[in-house]
């Protein structure tokens, strides 16, 4: 079970005065400045001269950008001068970037988009953990955007929080620039924001690891693919640009899943980052049916350790409810009787009710269903959760579009309406205290409980 990290929210909500002097960094053309800022640190960066970009998104000049809990790099195409103020865990300039390859890849994709009669490329990015997949996805989306295109960015890695909270899978048309401070940026679920918000389609899988419940994960992927493709068919801006699909770390053993993704999202280009073996294997598998390219792993990628990742996830949840320092939101708390709550959890395939919260058992459960075929488990994707404090307390729940009276089938297929946190559960008095993003009564809808927990 994931335990919540009590966040010291003061750190991110209020400006801490640091008496450090401003430091100037000069970056030569085609180099990047890599930096790490811990969660308790705060870094202010300003581009003083030249043009600089973070993961493809260009920075405005003479505007201060704030970073907290970030590992990022600033690339410059023609050289630039930065000024930074605050504490950094590490910082250095490197000339060894993969940007040249990324640019080549971008131009090649652009070439396909321009070629008469050919479909815009739907790109799948594969690679090992910490190989720079998400960075590449972000850069490719940014570059497409900068050429006045509108890519659809799909995140299939549930441990990432892309325009949503962790545990979810999203498809987001990228219609305006990313927020470099927040990582991705705001959605329409926030209030007025400094940059144009995005409107994602969200599915809730509920676990950090795809193997925890691979079947439910696959179901969500194919549903997401269906929605994304149908939007792509009718939205010409997106249709002309195509999709960019980011994935969790997948390897040879996930070849079936890769094939599923390829067909669910009508993938036409696969980019393998730093995994020669997977590249060769996929080449045999797909043998000319789609474009397959490899790109070396970036020297700049840093290992994101689990603790850092959990903090990122907790921050994403907090920001969903409370907004960011620049655009704070106040969520709403309501008390409702147990009878108003109808929660499900992904069916574990194992009969034990509690198994869903134990990744090791789930791993076994998946193996079983894979071996025994789908005969038994096909019937159920999700199962009902009993309302009690053991199951619900501090749980992050996804409120679905499906009505709570709907069939399980309908519920399992439904996309996410919003998220809530059960912040209190009283088994004696039979009521829960629920944290909602939007004021009003608790929506009359079905909910999905995953493994994520959150406390204020």
């Amino acid at each position: 079970m994931l335990v919540s990290f009590p966040e010291d929210s003061i750190l991110t909500k209020h400006i801490i005065k640091l008496k450090t002097d401003a430091t100037i960094v000069e970056i030569e053309a085609k180099s990047e400045w890599r930096f790490e800022v811990a969660f308790e640190q705060k870094l202010l960066i300003k581009v003083v001269e030249g043009n600089a970009e973070i993961f493809g998104t260009e920075l405005a000049n003479d505007i201060e950008y704030k970073f907290t809990g970030a590992k990022a790099s600033i690339y410059t195409h023609e050289g630039c001068k930065l000024q930074y103020q605050g504490e950094v865990s590490s910082e250095y300039i490197s000339e060894e970037t993969e940007m040249g390859h990324y640019i080549n890849l971008h131009l090649a994709l652009e070439n396909i988009r321009n070629t008469a009669g050919s479909k815009a490329p739907n790109v799948l990015i594969l690679g090992a953990k910490d190989s720079g997949k998400t960075t590449l996805a972000k850069i490719l989306s940014s570059y497409a955007l900068r050429m006045d295109r509108q890519p659809m960015l799909v995140n299939l890695d549930p441990s990432n929080s892309v325009f949503s909270i962790p545990g979810s899978l999203t498809a987001t048309p990228i219609s305006d620039i990313f927020d470099v401070e927040e990582g991705w940026g705001n959605t329409y679920t926030s209030g007025p924001t400094l940059l144009h918000p995005k409107q994602p389609n969200v599915r809730y899988y509920g676990y950090d690891d795809i193997n925890t419940n691979l079947k439910f994960y696959k179901e969500n992927i194919s549903r997401l693919g269906l929605t994304a493709l149908s939007r792509l068919q009718v939205d010409l801006d997106i249709k002309r640009t195509g999709m960019i699909v980011d994935t969790p770390p997948l390897g040879l053993k996930n070849i079936d899943l890769i094939q599923d993704i390829v067909s669910d999202f009508e993938i036409s280009v696969i980019v393998v980052v730093g995994n020669e073996r997977l590249f060769i294997d996929l080449r045999k598998k797909f043998n000319g049916r789609l474009s397959l390219v490899k790109i070396p792993k970036s020297a700049g990628v840093v290992e994101i350790d689990d603790a850092f990742k959990r903090k990122l996830q907790q921050r994403a949840i907090r920001e969903y409810f409370h907004g960011t320092a620049s655009t704070p939101l106040s969520p709403y708390t309501a008390n409702v009787d147990y009878k108003y709550i109808k929660a499900y959890k992904p069916a574990s395939g194992n009969t034990s009710v509690d198994a869903g919260f134990n990744p090791s058992i789930d791993q076994l459960g998946y193996d079983l269903s894979a071996v025994t075929g789908d005969a038994k488990s096909k019937s159920k994707l999700i199962e009902s959760v009993e309302n009690n404090s053991a199951n619900l307390l501090y749980a992050v729940v996804a409120i679905l579009h499906a009505d709570k009276k709907d069939d399980e089938d309908v519920v399992a297929r439904s996309s996410v309406f919003g998220f809530a946190v059960i912040s209190g559960a009283d088994d004696d008095k039979h009521f829960v205290r629920i944290l909602l993003p939007v004021p009003g009564r608790v929506p009359d809808k079905a909910m999905i409980v995953g493994e994520f927990r959150y406390t204020e």
Binding site: N51, E58, A60, I63, H77, E78, G100, H101, N104, L105, L107, A108, N111, I112, N114, T115, A116, G117, P121, R146, M147, D148, R149, D176, Y188, T189, S190, P192, T193, L194, L195, H196, K198, Q199, N201, V202, T227, V234, L236, D237, R240, V269, S291, V293, H322, G323, S326, T327, P328, L329, S330, A334, V336, H401, V416, F417, P437, V438, P439, P443
Partner: protein, 577 residues
């Protein structure tokens, strides 16, 4: 799908285009989509569009061009290439048949082609036809540019309401009078007889309303010239007549013999002299310079003038260039312009048309070398850096100072940029507003400052178009709170629906409190929707003091929240409950 089917698509496309009799965005968008969906029939669709441009009434040709433009800019290849083949012919042959306002629109359209790039940064059309059109326009630019400029520079001639034919007829009548007078003095003047004949014919044509505005303008200038020359001629004749009687009285410095036989060419001379004067002094007190010019080609051959008028009307394509030029010169110089400014505007305008071309990068961007295969991707070539630099920076020189987003140089992009800056402004002021009244209390339960919304369902997501929201209005309206689940799909709700209430604190014993402003009692009520006890239409303001106010009292006392407030009637209504 075989050739026949493709041909049918083209024919259907042509039929659909016949609806394009007015400037209709829906029709153009629709046809563009059809074109996009049928790229395999591109050659036939292109033929259809070209045919439409050729066959359409000259008042409707422009809209067909807008369609061509829309197809090329939205779809690009292969349409750009196919249209490129005949672009020069299509453009120029249509251009010459259009009237002046429409020509201006055509020029505006063409200017966008100079700067427009397809998505990869390549010029929209192949270089060659664009260059030829450019040359063509430069050749006729002294016409079209100046034709464009005078409305701004000299309001006198064109700012007058569209010319009525009566004005012309009056003019003709005066000329007729003059000629009659001349005829009376010199009954042997056969030219004047002819002229009278021609004038009556012209009058008929004008009265038949068969001419359009520009043609009328031309006729007007000619008639004015004729009137002036006629007047001069008459004066001269009278002077000569007087001279014959008493030569000393003749003040005319240039000795011009005025035999009666030559009466027809007589008008030329005094004007010419005046023109000389004007050139010499550089001033133009009478604004007659162009008339001097004008008189050179047509002389006083009225038959020819009439022929020309007929031609302008009937086979105007061929003849138009000549009269327009003169007409324009006259227009330009009429009130105040000197030759200097005339040449200035000429050079200015020509450079402005050519400059986009000159500023254009010399390297043409060809992305075809960037193949999607591992070996090309792994090459670290300078070409890719250069191409990238060209696309990302050179082609988009206008960087937003606030967020770093870049915009290109085309009119369309400048418009987008303006919208973008407006958007920043609106959002910033909105956030400031919220920051003043709400951020301070964010986190405590009082003021419902959160403006959250739910995610869209699949159907709404399918229908959602990001860019439409951006450029429709605020774009942030959409997020201002609301029970989305109650009105699914329509995700805009107005701020005034926000409920103002304060939950009754658990410490409260009597479930009532006093408004901190008007001292009236506020009673707690159970709200079914919220599922808890609340003080309705109340707020804690932005203080942490625990005081509760009527929302209406509070918003009256704090003007900055007023614009987001609800109607003042709420307090009353509450009291009656």
């Amino acid at each position: 799908m075989d050739e026949k089917d493709l041909q049918n698509i083209g024919e259907d496309f042509y039929t659909n285009m016949e609806d394009l009799t007015f400037n209709s965005r829906p029709i153009i968008t629709n046809l563009t989509i059809i074109a996009e969906e049928n790229t395999q029939a591109a050659p036939y669709i292109v033929k259809a569009v070209e045919k439409r441009i050729d066959k359409a009434l000259h008042t409707q040709k422009l809209f067909a061009f807008y369609l061509l433009d829309s197809i090329c800019k939205n779809i690009g290849s292969p349409y750009t290439l196919l249209f490129g083949d005949n672009l020069f012919k299509t453009f120029t042959s249509a251009y010459v048949s259009l009237d002046d306002p429409t020509r201006k629109k055509m020029i505006d359209l063409f200017k966008t082609w100079l700067t427009a790039k397809n998505s990869s940064g390549l010029p929209l059309f192949p270089q060659e036809p664009v260059k030829k059109i450019e040359e063509f326009l430069i050749r006729v630019s002294s016409i079209y540019q100046k034709r464009v400029t005078p409305p701004r520079q000299s309001p006198t001639p064109t700012s007058t309401p569209p010319m009525n034919t009566q004005e012309l007829i009056n003019l003709i009548n005066s000329i007729t009078l003059l000629s009659r007078e001349k005829l009376r003095v010199f009954p042997s003047d056969t030219e004047s007889l002819k002229k009278l004949d021609v004038l009556s014919k012209v009058k008929q044509v004008i009265e038949s309303q068969g001419m359009d505005y520009t043609e009328l303008l031309k006729v007007k200038t000619m008639l004015q010239d004729m009137y002036k020359s006629e007047e001069e001629a008459l004066k001269k004749l009278l002077a000569v007549q007087q001279q014959q009687q008493s030569p000393a009285m003749n003040n005319m410095s240039v000795p011009i013999p005025m035999p009666m036989e030559q009466v027809s060419v007589a008008p030329e001379h005094p004007l010419k002299r005046q023109f000389q004067q004007f050139v010499n002094t550089g001033s133009n007190p009478l604004g007659l310079a162009p008339i001097g010019n004008l008189l050179v080609p047509p002389k006083s051959n009225y038959e020819q003038l009439f022929q020309k008028l007929i031609k302008v009307k009937l086979i105007k394509y061929k003849r138009q260039r000549l009269p327009t030029k003169q007409f324009l010169k006259s227009l330009l110089s009429t009130p105040r312009t000197t030759t200097n400014t005339t040449t200035n505007t000429t050079t200015n305008t020509t450079t402005s048309t050519t400059s986009p071309l000159k500023n254009r990068p010399l390297i043409t961007i060809d992305l075809s070398q960037f193949d999607i295969n591992s070996s090309t991707l792994l090459k670290n070539t300078t070409t890719s850096y250069d191409t990238f630099h060209q696309l990302m920076f050179v082609d988009k020189p206008n960087k937003c100072a606030q967020c770093g987003k870049r915009f290109g140089k085309t009119d369309r992009e400048m418009k987008l940029r303006a919208d973008h800056l407006d958007w920043h402004f609106r959002v910033n002021s909105k956030l400031n507003q919220l920051g003043n009244s709400g951020a301070g209390s964010a986190g405590n339960s009082g003021l419902a400052m959160s403006c959250k919304a739910w995610y869209l369902d699949d159907v709404a997501f399918f229908k959602f178009r990001d860019l439409e929201v951006f450029y429709s209005d605020d774009g942030s309206n959409i997020t201002t709170n609301g029970d989305l689940h109650d009105n699914k799909g329509t995700n805009t709700t107005s701020v005034s629906n926000v409920k103002h209430y304060v939950p009754v604190p658990e410490s409260s014993l009597d479930m009532q409190t006093q408004c901190g402003i008007c001292r009236e009692t506020i009673k707690g009520q159970y709200d079914d929707d919220l599922g808890e006890w609340v003080y309705k239409d109340a707020t804690t303001g932005n203080s942490n003091s625990g005081k509760v106010f009527h929302w209406s009292c509070f918003s009256e006392a704090n003007p900055q929240v007023n614009n987001r407030s609800v109607s003042a009637g709420i307090k009353r209504k509450f009291e009656y409950e």
